[in-house]
Each structure stands twice: as C-alpha cells, then as structure tokens.
Symmetry: C2
Subunit: 404 residues, 2 copies
C-alpha cells in the first residue's frame, strides 16, 4: 500500500522515452489517496545524497504529459555508481525525508544500487519499498524480452542505415557506421532493419558477441565491395579481439575511463577513423567514409517508436501498481506474448541486478557478420508504426549508341 | 518549346529532397506533347559520358511519386568535376542521342559544368537547352535566397542539437558537434534553431566565416561552462585559422583530397576528437564528448522539411516550364517574398556558376560565436511544419533537512 512520500529517480544514459516512465510513475502515484507527495531526485542518486528533490506533486498534469513526450532524462541523471557507503548515504537521506517507496528508472547498474539500498532498509527495519523500472538503449537487461529506450534507438539506427545505404548507392564506396553498445550488439544489429531490397546495406554487421579480426574484416569488406560495387558496414563500438581487448582501446594509447572503470568508447570518432584508415591503406578502394553515430542515437528529437513510448509509460504505471497492491521489492520486467503484445511482471531485484544479457546465438548468422530472420522478426514490431519506406527507379535501360 | 528527347541528371552530394526535383522535372516534361522521351543519366555526368541512360518515360507516375519522397539521388551521382575535355565528351553524347534539353540538378560545380556544355553547343550550332536546377545542403548558391536540400539538412541539425542539449543537461559536461559545410556556415548555424529556453545550447557556434583560434575557443568553452555548468558547441567542419588553413588539416598530417582538390573533411571524426582532446588537456572539465554528424545530415530517413519538399518539387517543374515557354538557358533561382513565400526566376548560368555564397555579416553575432535574430527569422520558416517541441519540469524545490 502506497503511503506518505514516494520518490522517483532516473539513472544512467538518457533515452527517447525515459520521461514516459517517469511521468507514468508520477501520474499513477498521484492517483492513490495514501500518497501525500511525489518527489523527484534531481540528477539521480547524486541528487538523493545531496537532498536535491523536486516536488512533482506541484507539477501540472498537462506539463507532465508534455515532458513525457520530450526525450532525455528531465530529472537529470548521473554516472555515479554507488558502492555500499554511497548506498548507505542514499538510505540515510530517504529515511530522514520519510520516503516510503523508491522508484528507480535505469539499467543493470541502477537495479544493483536499488538492491543494496533495499537490503540496507531491511537491516535497519525501515519499511522501504524499492521498485526498479527498466531502461537502457543497450537492451541488455536479463529476463526482459527487451527494454524501454532500445526500440526508439533501434529505430534511429535503422533509419540512419536506410539513409546511408541510399547515399552509398548514389556515390558508391565503403561506408562504416559505428553504433553504441559496449557488450551487447542489439543496437548495432538494428542496422539490418534499414534494408529493403536484396542488395541493400548494411552488407556486413560486426557485433561484440563475436571476436573481431582486422584481416578478416578487410577481406570481408573487399569481397562485399567486389560483389556490390559498394559496401555499407555496421560496427559496434564494443568490438574486441579474441582475447577480449576492445579494438578501439587496442589502437588508442591512453583512452579515458569512466567512473565504472570502463574504457570510454562513446564520444570519440576513433574506431571509425581507425577502420576506414585500414581499408584505405590495405585495399584498392578509394572512396572510404566513416561515421560514429554518437549521442544522436539516444537523444535525436523526433525519432521515437510509439510502441516504445507506450511500453515505457506502462512500466512506470505498473511499478506504482506493484507497490500499491504487492508486498515485494522487485524489478518490472517485460515479457513478449504473441506477435506482437507484451505483459509485465515483477521479478526479484537479485535476478536482474548487475547482470548483462547479450544477443542469443539464434539471432546471429553463421557468418558472424549478419543477423538471422529470427532477429528481424524479434525487432520489427518494436520499431513502431510509420517507419518511412524507400523506393527505387526501375532499370529501363536505353541502348547505347557510341559504345556497345 | 520542348521537343524530342530531354535529359535529367543529378550531381554532387545527395539531399533529402533532390528526388522531388528530379520527379518534378520528369512528370512535368511528360505532360508536353512535343516530348518523346525523358532520359535520366545514371550517376550524373559520368553516366552521360558512359551513355548510361534510364528511360524515365517507361516509369510509372505512381513509382515516381514514391521515389520523390525517398531521400538521396535515385539516379545516382558522381564527384567527377568535368573540365573542358570532359564537357566536350558530354556534349558529344548528348548530340548523338539527340537530346534537345538537359536539366541538371546540382550545386555550383554542376551549374558550371552546364555553362561549359551550353557554350559547346552554341559553338557547334546545336540547339541544346541547358537548365540548372538548384540543390545543395551547403546553401551556398548566389542569387538564391536558399537552396533545396538545405532546409531539410538544417532541420536535422536543429533537431540533433535540441536533443544533445537535453542529453547534456541530464549528464552535464562539454559536448562538441561537428557539422558539414566547407566554406559556408549556414548548416552549422542551424544548430541555433535547436534552442528554446534561455540557457539552452548550443552555447557557442563556430562558423567558417570567422577565423578560428584554439586559445580563444578554449577560453570561450571554459567561460560558458562556468556560467551554465555545461556547454554545448556547434562547430563547422570548415573552420580555419586567420591564414585560411583548415583547423582539421592543420592537425592532420596527410589528409585525403577529393577530385576537386579539396581537403577531405567529411567522413572522419578527426576535428571533433582534436577539439575535445584540447579541452580535456587544457581545462579542468572532466566530461567532454564530441560527435561528427557526418552523412546522417543529408540522408537520415524521416527528417525532412515539407517546405523544402514542395520547393524542390517546384524548381524541377519550373525548369521544365522555362524550357517550354522561354528561350534562354539558365539556372532556376529561389527568391523570398513576404513571411513566408517564394517566387522563382530563371537567372543566367554565368551568374550562378562556380560562385560561392557565405553567411552575411548581419546573420553573425558580434561575438562571432552565435547567430543574430535576423538569422533565426531567416531560417525558421524553412524548417517546415511539425518540428518537435521540448518541455521541462518546473523547479519546485523540496527544502533540505540534513544540509542547509
């Protein structure tokens, strides 16, 4: 049963629909008579330890609805990854502010924070309900069929590759597009949904689920170029060699590491430049271009999946309902039923926290450089309605006069 | 008066609406009884010298309409920049195929090619009409108020910066986005249309119309970061120092040059990486990210200005009408009337060919790192209808308990 003050926070990287989840939580929570106030933590867990709270009970429903349709975390986020001491600080603040329920929207790091805070509350015999609301463009949360934020980012990647494929047809050469995703290749694999005609790119897709070898890559590119007269390649920023060393890190002397101890792969064009340089140096192909999609993948204004929007909204609402009528802490999880519908469950925090899902073997082609039909079937309904379509002129050739 | 066979070709970089111009030309030309066949050159002038023609008279109107809404050059393009000998080859093929009218969609290089071909025909006393149809995302054609392709690319850039501004608010730091444009800063300046609230980014805009100095840049970034707690920067790929040397080339040993003798600035993340490295090394700012927008700017599927679409369509139609009822060769030019409408004229090829327009001083703020209201007024109507809007939560702060 919801009572007193409840808190919502957003963690990790922003997505196109994370505000839908926040607004779903706030509006649903405000419906229940026991709820006195709904707080929002400003900049996630960092906002909690600093007692930076917004009173969302004073926000108009109208403005909340407008914020819901705005991409990126309206409450702000943080890259802090709390350890035990940090989580104890969080708990201390929640307790002094008499927070009864903590809704945390985020990925596997966020669910792990929630797990520790939940344990601290239990040890202190303080009645705190902790509900995790899933979010990540990486699509790497276990148990979930997919995670809110991923479908919209996938739509961006598919739309981008559909466009660069046309560009590459108009001005043939090799094009390498680098896509976000440290461990899981789902977002890079979404490039395959940009294809329509038989010879459309991406002709090659490199995922972190398969070891990357530069010589094989160059041979693949050359072979596709010979066959199609051009070649579009989708590459995950997280590709690594057989020993697990990231290709980007392998070729960069000093790479920035974030607070999680991870190598900084986003916000740099290094990998694309490195791969295109290698193609220029070691093949006879002249026109070679590389792009790194960067932050546009998760923030571009006006590229969103309506399926993603409604699911993100619902996981927020469901979190509140589980808090109201259930007794357990947990993580709201998304489960696919039929073709295409979903249902929601509350799974134990321990089952989701800190775990990473990668692409199943059945989604990756035997070649290791493409996806299977099963993946296309998996992803297509998530992209939502109104995906733009592309068309070609038909090849009604005029006979030559001067040449044969 | 149109008669016999007419030819349409697409040159230079693809845009979101270049197929509207091509289809406008084809459908309008097919209406006139004197026209026997409409040819399309496959891959621009290269297709002409190779006699690679498609018979667009055999294409269905229905498919043409679908192709019109598809981004990128459906006929293919080329980076060949014909010299006199090449233009003589073009003329030879046009003559042997009995082409009476040549419609060439492209930028200033394309109009220059057309000017030379037109002259060759006159010298040979062959009745050839040459009409140039404007196109370039750089918006750098003289006489024209603006050029088809630019508004849609500008919409992409504005939408991208509106998104990364939100991302940068959620996870504060410095963000540098590099935008296409070798000599003219129009597309980079479009980033300003991504702003809504007073403190929204881009906080700094660097255009090729003003010399770039790294020390001043670092001071500007630091100052904006101190003021806003974050900083979003838009940078043109064409920025150069006071001596005219491109900043990208200055720091790259061996940069690729294209067939035009230009330094290769697109298809590499070099400039963004260089600038973000400098910020990291020479300021105390920790979170610094850079993106290069690359080919998505001109090809991304689903980001188009409806104003751009209809104008691109009309310049194609007008080109045919000028050919049908006029007697002169020329370039279709766009002129602004009122707020907001346009009219079209046929200007002499010599007046447009090979010339480059850059941003007027009245469009650039005195600081040199922003645009003026006059520029915002100039660009806003071009972006078209349905630009997504963004909204924020209101700052209803909760009093702190533990801290003051």
């Amino acid at each position: 049963m919801l009572r007193g003050k409840v808190l919502v926070a957003q963690g990790g990287g922003p997505t196109a629909v994370i505000n839908e989840s926040m607004v779903g939580t706030v509006i649903e929570a405000r419906k229940f008579a026991g709820v006195e106030q709904v707080y929002g933590a400003f900049h996630g867990v960092q906002g909690i330890v600093n007692e930076d709270f917004l009173d969302l009970t004073r926000e108009t429903t109208h403005n909340l609805e407008l914020v819901a349709k705005t991409p990126c975390s309206a409450l702000g986020s943080t890259r802090d990854r709390p350890d035990l001491a940090y989580c104890q600080e969080i708990f201390k603040v929640l307790k002094v502010h008499e927070i009864s329920t903590f809704f945390y929207i985020g990925g596997n790091d966020s669910s792990d924070t929630l797990r520790i805070v939940s344990e601290e509350a239990r040890k202190a015999e303080y009645a705190l309900r902790c509900i995790h609301i899933p979010k990540t463009i990486d699509n790497d949360l276990v148990i979930n069929d997919h995670t809110p934020g991923f479908p919209s980012a996938a739509r961006f990647v598919a739309s981008a590759f559909a466009g660069v494929n046309l560009d590459n047809m108009a001005l043939p050469g090799v094009y390498v597009g680098v896509v976000m995703g440290r461990h899981a290749g789902f977002l890079t694999a979404a490039a395959a949904l940009g294809r329509k005609y038989d010879d459309d790119g991406p002709h090659l897709i490199y995922l972190p689920e398969r070891p990357f070898d530069l010589d094989t890559f160059l041979a693949d590119v050359n072979s596709a170029y010979q066959r199609f007269g051009r070649c579009v390649v989708a590459v995950s920023e997280g590709i690594h060699d057989a020993a697990g060393e990231p290709i980007a890190a392998k070729l960069a002397g000093d790479v920035e590491k974030d607070a999680h101890g991870n190598v900084q792969l986003s916000g740099t064009g290094l990998l694309a430049d490195l791969l295109t340089d290698a193609i220029r140096r070691r093949t006879d192909i002249k026109r070679v271009r590389g792009d790194t999609f960067g932050y546009l993948q998760r923030s571009f204004l006006g590229c969103v999946s309506d399926v993603d929007q409604r699911e993100a909204r619902e996981v927020g609402e469901k979190a509140v309902q589980y808090a109201q009528w259930g007794r357990d802490d947990g993580s709201v999880t998304i489960h696919r039923t039929g073709f295409y519908s979903v249902e929601f469950k509350l799974s134990p925090l321990e089952a989701v926290a800190g775990k990473t899902k990668v692409m199943a073997d059945e989604f990756i082609a035997g070649s290791g450089t493409d996806v299977t039909d099963a993946f296309l079937m998996y992803l297509r309904p998530l992209l939502g309605s109104g995906m733009p379509d592309v068309f070609r002129l038909r090849p009604n050739r005029v006979p030559k006069i001067l040449k044969k």
